[in-house]
Every structure is written in structure tokens, then in C-alpha cells.
């Protein structure tokens, strides 16, 4: 029979609507102002912290709605937003700096709903306020560091096999290794090629000079870059955690960029200081054979570099790095027996091994700690990227008393310096310096304003469209309006299910979907009217109307979908949010306007003898 849906189809529509309604539901409960407490490696939060803090808040007259302990995090939901700051300060002063205390807005989804996976949409920074950073990793520095390491490797490899070379230097085209005769070169080429798979060696000898050129292979460069970004991401994630921000985002973008989003953060200066601080230490042996006086005049021995101490005193260090900050697992400020500040450092197993071997051979010799910092001084490279200035300073020179293992101390600092260094080292060293290439700060009041604007645009737009459809198509218009309302619920539901982020352009996308989604129904209804005018029976007109309009609707929507997909691919942040809502809106509106309205139309008029249709 025409215009009768089988039971399964009706059932499907009902089930989809119920599921949609269910997942859209969490969005109407809003959010509770909350304070979130997380422990660290040195301290954890547990039930006793929970009771202790509950008592603390209660005794200060702060009304706690509920406190939860989950995933090693404590969450205190407060009854009043005004108490939030006060509660945070109370808790931080009570617990000290081993804990991270952050302000948060926790979804007030009822427990039964949350247990079934119901979660509200997340709000983008443009709707809730906060900072967005786009950071760029300085790849040339990562590669230069790797080349330096290679130079040191080559030296020791050649020396071990007693192959004589007359110099190794990093040049713009690669690492040049010079030899006195052909025999040494061919022996070296054979040896180095065997050990260093990741390098490509070519004989670039001229009449005057026997020379080997070592270049990193494409693949290796890719890997170095990849490692640099992922290690930097870990480091930045650690640093972000030190800032005490609820739900931060650290994400990779493209080959060499990292996105950091800190919702609710207003103190951008401090955030930048901690995120951008690119400090690291390197341990070098002091070159005891070098004549410091000659070095200052410009005659630095090959394989060594001249550095200065903070006091201005020159020191000549061997170029070879014994250990970099990458192996550091722990760093704490402390005091030695004379109450002088120092930093106690712990290394991981690999670092411990390297360090132990290096110090074994050098007992009785002086070792220096080099403090390296990259600072954005506002200069730019010719291509417009930020140029970071490297400053390196010797912070301590100490004689190695014995073979050192995984724990040792750095001294010769002021108290403030030792605390800062410990913080930076603990957060991990950045393998290559990063610079902020994009920064967006949205104040919380603007965020609230944006939500307000978006919602009122949606309400006005939708109200007029609904009234228009009702007047123009009467009963069928009412059905289209039902479909439109359900469509909106479905968009919200799908976005919540995918935990997509709602942005201001995202809201615009929803508003636009309202306007465009009626298109499906208009196409169908106009077709039904045409068929009626052409003298078809009511049932046949409905059938033809839906049938003929389908391929048109599909074609029209697929093309819009393609553009949304492209937008999604190129867009960042807010625009991505728009593309997502548009895509979801297209998909759900196809369902509600074709299948959904058909189910209602069939149920109301299908299979009945009627002469006239309210359309």
C-alpha cells in the first residue's frame, strides 16, 4: 500500500528520536562552579584529603554541594559561584604547592545520566574565555643539536678504530670530515657507513683535500623532527599541569606546531612565562688544557667553546655534551651542609648510565653546568618567524669527587635561582626551543556575551521560520516544524556524543542549519503541491512528492557536505567548530526532513481515503 511505513521503520524513527533526546538532555542541566585538586608525583589526593578539605571549606562557611574523588582528582562542586575563588585560595594555602588547585566548571549532569554516558557539549574558548596559544618548534635548532651529537659520535668512533682525521665541522651542507690521505678516508667511510645507518656519506674530496660529507637521511630528519615535537608536547603538558588549569588542551598541529588551550586563564603573562621558558642544562667537562687568556682573545682550541660565568669570569668548556636535561626525572631545591642553596637532581636509568660512565673516567677533573635559555627578544627571521636568542651561561664548576650515579647536586646558585632551575628542570627540558606564533585571549565576559548573542540569533531566526512554515504549509508546515525542532535536538545530541566543541561560529552553523534544513521539506511539499495540481490523487501526490524530491535533496546536501569537509580540513579552532556543526546538521536534517516527516505524514494520512490535503 502507498504511504504506509512498515513497523520497523516507524520504530527506527522513534528509537532515533529517543536516543537523540537522551543524549541532548545533559545540556540543559548547566554547570556547577567547582574547584579541582590534583596531586603530583610527590603527593596524592585520597579520602582523607577529601574529608580534610570538606571540613576546611565547611568551617569557612563555603557551601559544598558535593565532593567527588575520581581518577586521583578531587572535585568540589560549590553552591555559589562567588565562593569559587575563596575556596581555591583556602585549599591551595592548606595543601601547599605539591598539589595543583584549579577552578573548573563541572557539568551538573545527574549521575544516572552520566553513568549512561550522557555528557554535555564542551564550550570553545570563544564562549567560555581563556587563552589559545599556537607554538612553533624551532626545527633548525633540533637538527643542529642532533648534528652536534653526531659530530661527537664520529670523533669517538674514529678514535676507537685509530683512524686519523684532521677535522670535523658542521657546515651548512652537512658535516664535513677531513682526512690527510685517501687510505684513512676509505677506512673511515667503511666504518662510519656501517655504524651510522641514519646518515648518508659521500666522498667530496678535491685535489687539495680528502673529505667526507655526512648528511642526515630524509627519513632521519623526519624522525628527529617528529621526536622534537612529541617530546616538546610532553614537556609542555607537564608545564601546563603546573599552571593548575582545568581541562587544558595540548595538541599537535601540522609538522612543527603545537596548540595549547587554557580555558579560564586570565593571567596570560604568567602562562607564557612558564610555557615559553625554554631553559635546559648541559653538563660539559672543563677544557683544562686551554689557555683562558688566549681564548678570550679569540684563540679557542678546536673542540672547545668559550663561555662566561654569571660573574663574568671566562671558562673554556669541551664542546662534547656529557649529559643534557632530557634525562632528568627529578629536581629539587635544597641546601648543602653550609646552608648554601643547591639543586638535587635525579636521572633516569639511561641518563644514569651515561653519567656514571662519563664521571668514572674523569674523577678529579672539573665539570661545568651550563644553563641555556632561549628568549624571544622580538627579532624575526627573514621569513617572518620568531627568532629566538640563545644565551648560555656557566652556573657552576665543580670537581668530580667520585663516580656519580643517578643522583647528584648542582651548586653555586642563589636561592631564587635554585628554585627556578628546579622548577624548569622538573617540568622537563624542551628539546628544541618553541616560540608563540599565535595567541588569542578571550575575556570571560566576552564569552558569556557571545553565548547570549548566538542564542538570541537562534531564537529570533527559528521563531520566524517556524511561524512562516506554519502559515505557508499549514498542517504540513507543522510537521516540518516538528522535524526542524527535532533536528536541532539531534545536532546537539550528536555533538554531545562526539564530545565536539561548541564555538561561536558553531552556533552560527546551527542557526544556518535551521534556515537550510527546511529546504528538504520545502522541496517535498512543493512537489506534492505540483502533483496535486497535475490532478493526482492525494495518496499518489504524497508518494510522488517524497520519491521525486529524494535524489534532489541528496545531491544538494552532498555538495554542501563536501564544502563543509574542506572547511573542516583547513580550518582551525572556531572555524572547525562551524564545519562540524554544519556537517552534523546536514546529516541529521536529511533524516528528520525525509524519514521523520514521512513517518508522521504516513501515520496521519497514509492509507486513508481523503480528498483534500492541508498543504
Amino acid at each position: 500500500m502507498l504511504n504506509k511505513y512498515p513497523i520497523w521503520k516507524n520504530l527506527m524513527v522513534v528509537i532515533v528520536l529517543i536516543i537523540g533526546g537522551f543524549y541532548a538532555l545533559p545540556n540543559i542541566f548547566g554547570e556547577d562552579p567547582a574547584v579541582q585538586v590534583a596531586g603530583s608525583r610527590f603527593a596524592e589526593v585520597n579520602v582523607s584529603t577529601q574529608t580534610q578539605l570538606n571540613d576546611l571549606l565547611a568551617s569557612n562557611g563555603i557551601d559544598v554541594k558535593k565532593s567527588e574523588l575520581e581518577n586521583d582528582q578531587l572535585l568540589f562542586r560549590l553552591a555559589h559561584a562567588d565562593d569559587q575563588l575563596k575556596a581555591k585560595e583556602l585549599i591551595s594555602s592548606q595543601l601547599g604547592d605539591k598539589y595543583t588547585v584549579a577552578l573548573n566548571l563541572a557539568p551538573a549532569t545527574p549521575e544516572w545520566l552520566a553513568d549512561l554516558g550522557g555528557e554535555p557539549m564542551k564550550l570553545g574558548l570563544d564562549l567560555r574565555g581563556g587563552v589559545h596559544f599556537l607554538m612553533e618548534v624551532d626545527m633548525s635548532e633540533a637538527i643542529r643539536k642532533m648534528e652536534e651529537a653526531k659530530v661527537a659520535d664520529f670523533r669517538s668512533q674514529l678514535r676507537k678504530e685509530r683512524i686519523r682525521y684532521s677535522g670535523i665541522k658542521i657546515k651548512s651542507r652537512g658535516i664535513e670530515i677531513k682526512f690527510r690521505n685517501e687510505e684513512a678516508l676509505s677506512k673511515a667511510e667503511f666504518l662510519l657507513k656501517r655504524i651510522n645507518n641514519e646518515m648518508v656519506f659521500t666522498d667530496v674530496s678535491t685535489d687539495a683535500q680528502q673529505m667526507l660529507l655526512a648528511v642526515m637521511s630524509e627519513e632521519y630528519i623526519k624522525q628527529v623532527k617528529n621526536d622534537a615535537v612529541s617530546q616538546n608536547m610532553t614537556t609542555i603538558r607537564n608545564r601546563v599541569n603546573q599552571l593548575g588549569v582545568a581541562e587544558p588542551v595540548v595538541q599537535r598541529q601540522g609538522a612543527d606546531r603545537i596548540i595549547v588551550e587554557l580555558p579560564g586563564v586570565q593571567d596570560t603573562a604568567r602562562a607564557k612565562e612558564i610555557l615559553g621558558a625554554t631553559a635546559s642544562i648541559e653538563l660539559h667537562m672543563v677544557d683544562q688544557n686551554a689557555d683562558v687568556g688566549r681564548a678570550v682573545r679569540g684563540h679557542v682550541p678546536a673542540g672547545s667553546v668559550l663561555y662566561y660565568r654569571r660573574s663574568g669570569e671566562p671558562v673554556v668548556l669541551k664542546k662534547k655534551v656529557i649529559l643534557t636535561g632530557n634525562y632528568i626525572t627529578d629536581a629539587q631545591p635544597s641546601f648543602d651542609e653550609y646552608s648554601r642553596p643547591q639543586v638535587s637532581i635525579g636521572l633516569d636509568a639511561k641518563g644514569g648510565n651515561i653519567f656514571s660512565n662519563a664521571t668514572k673516567d674523569n674523577v678529579g677533573k672539573p665539570m661545568a653546568t651550563l644553563f641555556i635559555e632561549y628568549k624571544d627578544k622580538g627579532k624575526r627571521n627573514p621569513d617572518g618567524s620568531v627568532k629566538l636568542d640563545k644565551t648560555a651561561e656557566v652556573i657552576s664548576v665543580a670537581t668530580i669527587q667520585q663516580r656519580l650515579g643517578r643522583n647528584f647536586v648542582i651548586n653555586g646558585l642563589t636561592q631564587v635561582e635554585s628554585q627556578e632551575l628546579a622548577l624548569l628542570l622538573r617540568a622537563g627540558a624542551l628539546i628544541a626551543p618553541v616560540s608563540i606564533v599565535e595567541e588569542r585571549t578571550i575575556g570571560p565576559s566576552l564569552g558569556a556575551e557571545n553565548i547570549q548573542n548566538g542564542l538570541s540569533a537562534m531564537i529570533y531566526g527559528m521563531a520566524i521560520v517556524l511561524v512562516f512554515m506554519l502559515i505557508y504549509y499549514r498542517a504540513f508546515g507543522f510537521i516540518a516544524n516538528l522535524a526542524l525542532s527535532f533536528n536541532l535536538i539531534m545536532v546537539v545530541a550528536v555533538m554531545s556524543m562526539l564530545s565536539a566543541v561548541l564555538t561561536l561560529p558553531g552556533i552560527a552553523g546551527m542557526v544556518l542549519t535551521v534556515g537550510m534544513a527546511v529546504d528538504g521539506n520545502v522541496l517535498i511539499y512543493e512537489r506534492i503541491r505540483e502533483e496535486l495540481r497535475a490532478g493526482r490523487s492525494v495518496q499518489q501526490a504524497i508518494h510522488e512528492g517524497y520519491g521525486n524530491a529524494f535524489s534532489t535533496i541528496a545531491d544538494a546536501n552532498i555538495t554542501t557536505f563536501i564544502t563543509a569537509l574542506i572547511l573542516f580540513a583547513i580550518g582551525t579552532g572556531a572555524v572547525k567548530g562551524f564545519a562540524v556543526t554544519l556537517m552534523i546538521g546536514i546529516a541529521t536534517s536529511m533524516f528528520t526532513s525525509i524519514v521523520g516527516t514521512r513517518a508522521i505524514v504516513n501515520a496521519l494520512w497514509g492509507g486513508k481515503r481523503i480528498k483534500k490535503l492541508s498543504i
Binding site: L134, K272, D376, G378, K379, R380, D383, G384, S385, I436, V437, E438, E439, R440, G443, E449, N450, N453, S456, M458, Y460, G461, M462, I464, V465, R474, L504, P505, A508, V511, L512, V514, G515, M516, V518, D519, V522, L523, E526, R529, E530, N548, S551, T552, A556, T559, T560, F561, I562, T563, A564, I566, L567, I570, G571, T572, A574, V575, L582, I615
Partner: protein
């Protein structure tokens, strides 16, 4: 039946095609000329630089504020109201050797002189390199979108129609860009998003007409291609008007109520939807006719026995 438009018979839309396509040509050329001479007022997303949005307690005197901001590292700053008279938007250019933070601090110092309760609502900084990349990517995206659509429409319909639709889209994009150029409206990333949405939306209209053209070529045994196109446009006219109307309603709501941050986006949509609706008739369909679309091109492949009366199908 309540109807906005009620046509008795077929309206000869194409009768006016020649003068109207001349008008289109003028619009496109005018837009291109403006793009070539005035260019586009690229927003922060594309040029790089710093934008500071401030909210004052009382509407400040912009002239005085301009004088207060007369500082070397801020030269070239643009100061304007944004949304209301109390809200002020300050655009700063990237300066060699000057950090964005320092620029913002200078601005804040000057603003506090005027009004100590001034609120910093928004600060955005984009590096020049990032902006350049984005501009390249954005241009590429529009191009890729057009190509994808060309492929899809050729696959689903026919190459003449595909060419028509892409020409219509290019027309819409150029004219919308032209309006942004002539009025020197700021073009930022959300405007680009709006432009791409226009591409999708305008195509939507075109496809509805094409679909009907294809159907009518098969159904109407008589009539020239122009007659069939006219009939198709007439039949889909009320749908086109209603859909455009509902979409325009929501876009106008966004334009008026959505707040200043998506004003550019709403403007692009507003322009694009109007231009797009008209171009789907006069550019897309007309071009397909000029390219020589005929009944033969519309025949499904397995049509051989039905098409016996058409000698061109029989070798």
C-alpha cells in the same frame, strides 16, 4: 493553497538572459577591478598583528585615544568602535623588534589613563608567517572545493552542467569578494568560512534546478532546450524563493543579533545567498545552454530503444 508566486504556464526567464548576463559580466569585472586596485582588507588572521578589544566604562573620545597612542612601536594603529560606543577595537601592526606583549602593555597604559576601569575583553596576536600560510591555505581550499564540486557534478549530471555550476560558483565568490573589497570590509577566517558556505549553498540551488532540467528533458518530448530550462526554473521557482527566504531570515538574525564577532561571517552569507540564488538561474543554467546542452546529453545510457527517434544516438 497559500502561494507566494503562482505562475500561469511557463515564465520565459531566459528572455532576459542576454542583458542580465551582461549585468553579471559587469558585476564580475567590477569586482575584479576593485580587487585589483583596492584589494581586500585582510583581517588579522591573514596579515598577522595584534588586536585588542577594550570595554570602557564611558564612551571614550577616539581622537584623544589616538593621540595618547602616538608611540613609535604602535605607529599605524587603527582605532575604531566595535559593536557599541563603549567598545573599542585597536589593531596593531607587527613591528620589527617589538614584542606583541609590549605593544599591548602600552595600549593598556594609555587606556587606563582615559578610564581606569577599562576591561580588556580580547587580545589576539597572530604571527605574520602563520597569516601568510593561512591565506595560501584558504585560497587553496576555495579552489579545491570548486574542483571537488566540478568532479561531483560531472559525475552526477553532465560536464556542460558542471561547467555551468562552477562558473556560477566562481561568479558568486568573485562578486562576494568584490563587495568586501569595494566596501573595504574586513576579511578574516570566519568570512572565508562564510564564503565556502556560500559555495555550498549556491550549489544547492543550482542542483535543484539542474535536477529538474534533467527530469524535464526526459519527460517533455517537445520543446527546445531553452523551453525546458524555462519550464524547470518556473517549476522550482517557489521552492527557490521559500528556501532562500528562510535561510535569509536566519542569516539576518545572525547579522543583527549574533554580535560583532560574527558580523563579517553573516555579511558574507547575506551577500552570497542573494547573489547565489540569482546566479543559479542566470549564470548556471544559461551557460549550460550556451555550451549546447541538449536532450541527447541527458539520456541515461540504457536508453537505446527509447531513443530510436533520435538519429544522433544511432551510429
Amino acid at each position: 493553497m497559500f502561494q507566494i508566486l503562482s505562475f500561469k504556464g511557463t515564465v520565459n526567464f531566459l528572455r532576459h538572459a542576454v542583458p542580465i548576463s551582461f549585468l553579471s559580466m559587469v558585476l564580475v569585472l567590477g569586482s575584479l577591478a576593485s580587487l585589483a586596485t583596492k584589494g581586500i582588507n585582510w583581517g588579522l588572521d591573514f596579515t598577522g598583528g595584534t588586536v585588542v578589544e577594550l570595554e570602557f566604562e564611558h564612551a571614550p573620545n577616539l581622537e584623544n585615544l589616538r593621540a595618547d597612542l602616538d608611540h613609535d612601536s604602535l605607529s599605524g594603529a587603527v582605532i575604531q568602535n566595535f559593536g557599541s560606543t563603549r567598545d573599542v577595537l585597536i589593531r596593531l601592526q607587527v613591528k620589527e623588534g617589538v614584542k606583541s606583549d609590549d605593544q599591548v602593555n602600552l595600549v593598556m597604559d594609555a587606556a587606563r589613563q582615559v578610564d581606569k576601569d577599562v576591561v580588556q575583553k580580547r587580545v589576539e596576536f597572530v604571527g605574520p608567517q602563520v597569516g601568510k600560510e593561512l591565506a595560501e591555505q584558504g585560497g587553496l581550499a576555495v579552489l579545491v572545493a570548486l574542483i571537488c564540486i566540478l568532479v561531483y557534478v560531472s559525475f552526477r549530471f553532465e560536464w556542460r552542467l558542471a561547467m555551468g555550476s562552477v562558473a556560477a560558483l566562481a561568479h558568486d565568490v568573485i562578486v562576494t569578494l568584490g563587495v568586501f573589497s569595494i566596501l573595504q570590509l574586513e576579511f578574516d577566517l570566519t568570512v572565508l568560512a562564510g564564503l565556502l558556505t556560500v559555495v555550498g549553498y549556491s550549489l544547492n540551488d543550482t542542483i535543484v534546478v539542474y535536477d529538474r532540467i534533467r527530469e524535464n528533458f526526459l519527460k517533455m518530448r517537445k520543446g527546445s532546450p531553452s523551453d525546458i530550462v524555462n519550464a524547470s526554473i518556473t517549476q522550482t521557482m517557489s521552492r527557490t524563493i521559500i528556501t532562500t527566504l528562510t535561510t535569509l531570515i536566519t542569516v539576518v538574525a545572525l547579522f543583527l543579533k549574533g554580535g560583532s564577532m560574527i558580523h563579517g561571517f553573516a555579511t558574507a552569507l547575506l551577500m552570497g545567498i542573494m547573489v547565489g540564488t540569482y546566479s543559479s538561474i542566470y549564470v548556471a543554467s544559461y551557460l549550460a545552454i550556451r555550451l549546447g546542452i541538449s536532450r541527447d546529453h541527458m539520456m541515461p545510457v540504457e536508453i537505446e530503444k527509447e531513443g530510436a527517434d533520435q538519429p544522433s544516438m544511432m551510429p
